[in-house]
Every structure is written in C-alpha cells, then in structure tokens.
C-alpha cells in the first residue's frame, strides 16, 4: 500500500515547497518521522504535538523571530527522509532538523545535516552509530540508544541468571545494532548467544520465527525490534507457549506498546527506558498536560521531543544566533535539567543522562490507567551509554 502512496505524497510535498520563501524571517524546525506506520504511536503525531507544546511554552518566538514547525512522514524510508530534509534546508531555510523514529532514516538525515551544516537532533532512532562510527559535529542524540538498551536490559537479565540468548531481530540498521550491542554485553558477562533470526520490518505473523526460537532451547528470547513488531511478537510468544519455556527480554519497549498489549500479556517484562510519566511530580505534571490534549500518556520519546526542543531554543537564545556551529557549541557547553532528564551533551553528540531499568507491573499492582512500570534500577548515564574507551568517534578523542 505504502508503495502506492509515496510517489504521490512526495509530489504533493514538492509542489508545496516550491512556493516557499527563502529569507530568514522565521526559525524553522523540521520534524521527519513515521506518522502513519508501525512506529507512529511511539512518536509520530504525538511527537509533533510535544514539539509544538514546547514552542508554545517558549513563547512562540526566539531572537525576535517566530518559530515554525514543519512535519513530514518518512514512511520508514531513508531516501524519503533524506530528500525531505534536503528540500526543507534548500527551499525553506530550515534552522534545525529534528529526526524521528527508524534508525535508517536517522543515519540518512544526519549525513544531510552534516553536509548542509544544520543542527540535527534525534530521539526516535536508536542506533548507537549516530554518535559512534557515524558521529557528526551537528548531531545531538537525545533520548536513548541501542548501547544503553543493551547494557540496561541485557545486563540486568544476565545478572538475573538469563545466560543463553536467542534474538528475534528486525532486519535493518536498528535491529542489527541492537542485537550486536546486546550480544556484546551478554558475552562480556559470561553468557552465550545460541542463535538469532532476522525478520522483515513490519511483520504481522511471528509464529514461524517463534517456533525457531523455541527449538533453540535458549533461556532468553531477546526482542531486538520495536513498536508494532514487538507487540505482535509478544502476542504470538504467549499464544505459542514460548513464554512458558523462555523469558522474554524486550530490548526496546514503549509505554504505548504495554498499553496496547495490556498488563496481562506483559506482566514481569524487563525493559530499559529513558523516562516515564510516573516518576515524580514534574514528570506527572507533564504527563497530565499532554494527556489532556491527546487522551494518551506520552511515551519517553514524546517527552524527549518536548525537552529537546526547549533545550535547542534555550541554546539559540544563549548563543544569540541560529548559526549551527554557534548553537552546537552552546548545546555542548550547557547543563540540561528539566522534567525529562538531567545531564550534558558530550563531544560526540550524545546527551548523557540516567536511564531506568523498569519492570512491567502486574494488573494488581497497577493503581490507575497508564500506571505500568516499577523502577528496578536507575542506570547512571556515564556507565550506560558508550564509554570513551568504547567510542570510535573521532570528535571525542
């Protein structure tokens, strides 16, 4: 289906853009993410709304210029994401490029931003390559990455005795990175990886893959996928009785996934996240504000979208410029402390903050709607993200 729409959507987008103005009369933030497919609930339009909320809360203006948000659906295709970014920068004088879900699109947009010298902030994409092998002086990777997920969930599960792993991996940049990063952690801690199977992105039937996993006799089934894929995999795992012989480790699970599956299907699942609405008074205040607008609690990505936008606008104000080099210098020198997280942006572009190891509550433990997580451990940012010894990024030497 998507294959039919994309050329038409692209044509419309191009036609609209052609009439746009060139002069720098506005600060434009361009947000490109999955707005319609399997990842659109974890960020999508809700992410765009969070960015707009931040713009409004900031006052709608910075350095005397109004702030405008542009959004586009990349349909999980890297070429669409890159060409949209290029088009906005060329025709709309985009000030900041905001990347959404799907690592392949994030890596593609990071390249465009570097070439065109624009600030690139990204939350949804998970691959650690954004601040490691493919790091760029213009990238800020804000919310989480595959290394943090691997060290968080992977480390915790091995510590609890889950020594042998089988991976169910989404077959693209993110899945492969997550599997590789988690395998490394498992092996370092004395565990083994007995096998893995790569499934195409956006798979609805996981039965075949789960039977393969079951036959592997591993203790742990590592789900190196996200969004709709994770949901369908967990559902089928329950149906095929995989959960009786293996323990599931959700390597990237969002609160929207839990909401969709229900606590009955997910109780006890260990996961790593950068944020939850129910951590303290500040997070609950944001959660409520967002819920009032959407009737859903924000995912950690949507909260990060708000926070990253605020951080960017503050940096522009402090730097008194929208010049990418000046803003990046400001971003990397300032301290960030808000309802979302506390920390600093490192030379490689990684926003280092604490992450949380969570366990999904049982239906009895959950006191209200969207009350799904209990904190198992707070994971210090310096340890959970890539360390200097592990980094291959030339900017951080």
């Amino acid at each position: 289906m998507k294959h039919w729409i994309s050329p038409i959507a692209l044509a419309c987008g191009l036609a609209l853009a052609a009439g746009a103005a060139q002069a720098q009369d506005k600060v434009r933030i361009g947000f490109v993410t999955d707005m319609s497919s399997l990842y659109s609930d974890v960020e999508g339009k809700g992410g765009a709304l969070a960015i707009q909320m931040a713009i409004d809360d900031f006052g709608g203006k910075v350095l005397g210029m109004p702030i405008e948000l542009l959004t586009a659906d990349h349909q999980n295709k890297a070429d669409i994401a890159a060409s949209k970014a290029r088009e906005w920068i060329d025709t709309q004088n985009l000030t900041m490029l905001f990347g959404g879900t799907t690592s392949s699109t994030g890596l593609a947009m990071a390249k465009v931003a570097q070439e065109k010298k624009r600030v690139f902030m990204v939350n949804g994409a998970g691959t650690s390559a954004l601040t490691n092998e493919q790091c760029s002086p213009y990238t800020v990777h804000y919310a989480y990455d595959t290394v943090a997920l691997a060290k968080g969930t992977g480390g915790a599960v091995v510590d609890q005795g889950g020594k042998s792993w089988f991976f169910l991996t989404a077959d693209y940049a993110f899945g492969t990175a997550l599997e590789a990063d988690t395998s490394k952690v498992v092996k370092e801690k004395g565990g083994t990886v007995v096998g893995s199977v790569k499934h195409p992105l956006n798979t609805s039937d996981f039965s075949s893959f789960l039977v393969q996993a079951q036959n592997s006799k591993a203790q742990i089934l590592g789900l190196a996928n996200a969004g709709g894929d994770t949901i369908n995999a967990i559902k089928a795992a329950k149906e095929f009785g995989v959960t009786k012989t293996m323990k599931l480790a959700g390597l990237l699970v969002f609160v929207s996934d839990i909401h969709s599956l229900g606590l009955k299907n997910t109780e006890g699942l260990l996961l790593t996240t950068s944020w939850d609405w129910n951590l303290d008074d500040r997070t609950r205040a944001f959660g409520k504000k967002y819920f009032d607008k959407t009737k859903r609690m924000p995912t950690d990505l949507q909260a990060a979208d708000y926070s990253a936008t605020m951080t960017y606008l503050k940096a522009v104000e402090a730097a008194k410029s929208i010049d990418a080099d000046k803003v990046m210098a400001q971003l990397k020198s300032m301290k960030i402390d808000d309802f979302y997280a506390k920390g600093t942006i490192r030379a490689d572009g990684r926003f280092v903050h604490d992450m949380y190891l969570m366990q999904v509550k049982s239906p009895a433990e959950s006191k209200q709607a969207w009350d799904y997580y209990k904190v198992v451990a707070k994971l210090p940012g310096e340890q959970v993200f890539t360390t200097k010894a592990e980094s291959k990024c030339a900017l951080w030497k």
Binding site: S204, S208, H259
Partner: protein, 291 residues
C-alpha cells in the same frame, strides 16, 4: 543451514495457517473480479473492519467471538452492498484502473478513520476460551486456535467453490460473467446479483478478519500488511479462478513458511519473486485461462 524434519513439519503447518488467510482473501477478490471486473483494493480495509468490529463488539457490548463470526461478515457485507450501489455501479463501463483507484481511495478513508481513533499499535483481542491452549504434537506446540483457523477457512473456501461451481445460483453467476445481457433476457436480475456478489466477497474478507483478530494485533494497518501479498496470490493463481485462488493461497503460505526457515530475510519478498516468474512463464496465472 541444516533443518531437522520436525522443524520443517512445524513450519509447513504454520505456513498452512497463513495460507488459509491468503486463500480466503484471494477467494473474495477472485469472486469479485470474476463478476464485477473490479480489482477490489478495499479488500484489506474491509478485512480490518471485520477484526475491529469484533473487538468493538467485545469491548463496548460484550458480544462474544462466536456471534461476531456471523455478525461481522453480515455488517461488512451490507457495507459492501452500499459501496457497490452508491459508488462502484458508476464505473463498470470504465477501465479496470478506475475501480482500482476508487477502492484505493476507500481504503485510505477507512484506514485513516480507524487510525485516527485507535492509533496503530492496535488493540488486543483474547482468544476465545474454548480455543485457548495448545495441542502438543510432539514436534511442535500448535495453538488450538491456529488449527481452528485452518479448518474454518477450508470449510468456507470449499463451500464457496461448491456454491459457484456446482449450484444453480452459481451457474447464473458464471453465466452472468460471460454474457450479462443474455442472462438478463432470461429474467435474471443481474444488477442485484452483482450487488450481492460484491457483498458476499467482502463478507469473506470480514470473516477472515474475525478469524485473524485473536492471532494478530487488531490494528488499522493489519489489512495493509496482507493485501499486497494477497494481490500477488491472485495474480499467481490467475484472476477470476476460484479454485486457483484457494490452492495458490494455501501453497504460497507454505512457501513463505519455508522461506522463514531457510532465509527469513526474504520472507516478505518470496511471494513477489514467484509472481514475477509465473508472469514470465504463464502470463494468465497458474490456473487462469488466456482470453
């Protein structure tokens, strides 16, 4: 990669389950194309509607699965009758492409509507109590529900085939396909027959949707993921061939299942590779007749 016999057997069986869905959906498409000459792109959206209605009935009115197995196809079938009466009727004289575009537009509308209400993560629908649990076949665990899917869809497929190929109504239908004017001259109400055929084809999609609800997450996108494959199935089987659609559906489910063992990365493309090969060798499809 070496694969043991039990592992292979279990994958064949799972392939058959998926094949059942392909068979039911491609059967509906084949019936509709046969009589209306319309490539019904809305089939996936109507499949999804069947599943979502089942979920809605359970969550808002506590109507159970078994009731919806009958009610959902009827509701969606009536919706299909409306579509045919109000929209499709006007474009029969035009090229196939117009039917395709119209139904594609409908798909976007229906899916967009459900997406804006429910989001894409979908809704969880529990397996009915009578079918929860699993058979231990020795070489694999087969959830009872999956076995039920194969049985139910085979019964429906065979019944449909019988209805069209072996009964008087079916004979009218086939005659109507060949020469509608002549059949009308004999006093058969052909426009009504066309309307009911579309309703029936669409009801088959909804029936498949109800069957799918406990298996895959009920989501506005569930039809979108399937429909492209199902179109390939119809093309491989031969447009308009009833038995062709059923056999090809089951067969391709099995081929896809095997691909998931030997080279899983290709499991979403294998059907299309076969489609290309079949089109090169037999442009009318495996069971289709050249016109």
């Amino acid at each position: 990669m070496s694969v043991s016999l039990p592992a292979l057997l279990s994958q064949l069986l799972l392939g058959l389950v998926n094949g059942s869905f392909y068979a039911m959906l491609s059967l509906g498409l084949a019936v509709i194309f046969g009589l209306l000459n319309v490539i019904n792109f809305a089939h996936g959206a109507l499949f999804m509607m069947g599943a979502v209605l089942t979920w809605m009935a359970m969550n808002y009115f506590e109507v159970n699965y078994w009731v919806m197995l009958v009610v959902a196809p009827v509701i969606v079938g009536l919706f299909g009758v409306l579509i045919e009466r109000l929209l499709l009727r006007w474009i029969y004289k035009l090229d196939h492409l117009y039917g395709l575009l119209l139904t594609l537009g409908l798909t976007l509308l229906i899916e967009g509507l459900f997406r804006s209400v429910y989001g894409v993560s979908g809704l969880a629908y529990d397996t009915p109590d009578a079918l929860s649990g699993a058979f231990n076949l020795g070489f694999m665990i087969l959830p009872k529900y999956r076995a039920w899917v194969v049985v139910a869809s085979l019964v429906v497929c065979v019944a449909t085939w019988f209805l069209i190929e072996k009964t008087r109504i079916g004979a009218y239908l086939r005659a109507g396909t060949e020469n509608p004017r002549l059949v009308e001259a004999f006093g058969v109400n052909v426009p009504l027959m066309i309307t009911l055929t579309y309703g029936f084809g669409v009801a088959l999609a909804a029936f498949a949707g109800v069957l799918a609800a406990p298996v895959i997450q009920v989501s506005p996108l569930m039809g979108q993921n399937l429909i492209i494959v199902v179109f390939a199935v119809v093309v491989i089987g031969g447009m308009g061939s009833i038995m062709g659609a059923i056999l090809t559906g089951l067969g391709l489910g099995v081929v896809e299942g095997l691909t998931k063992v030997f080279y899983p990365e290709a499991s979403s493309t294998v059907v299309f590779v076969i489609m290309v090969i079949v089109l090169l060798i037999r442009p009318a499809g495996l069971f289709g007749k050249e016109k």
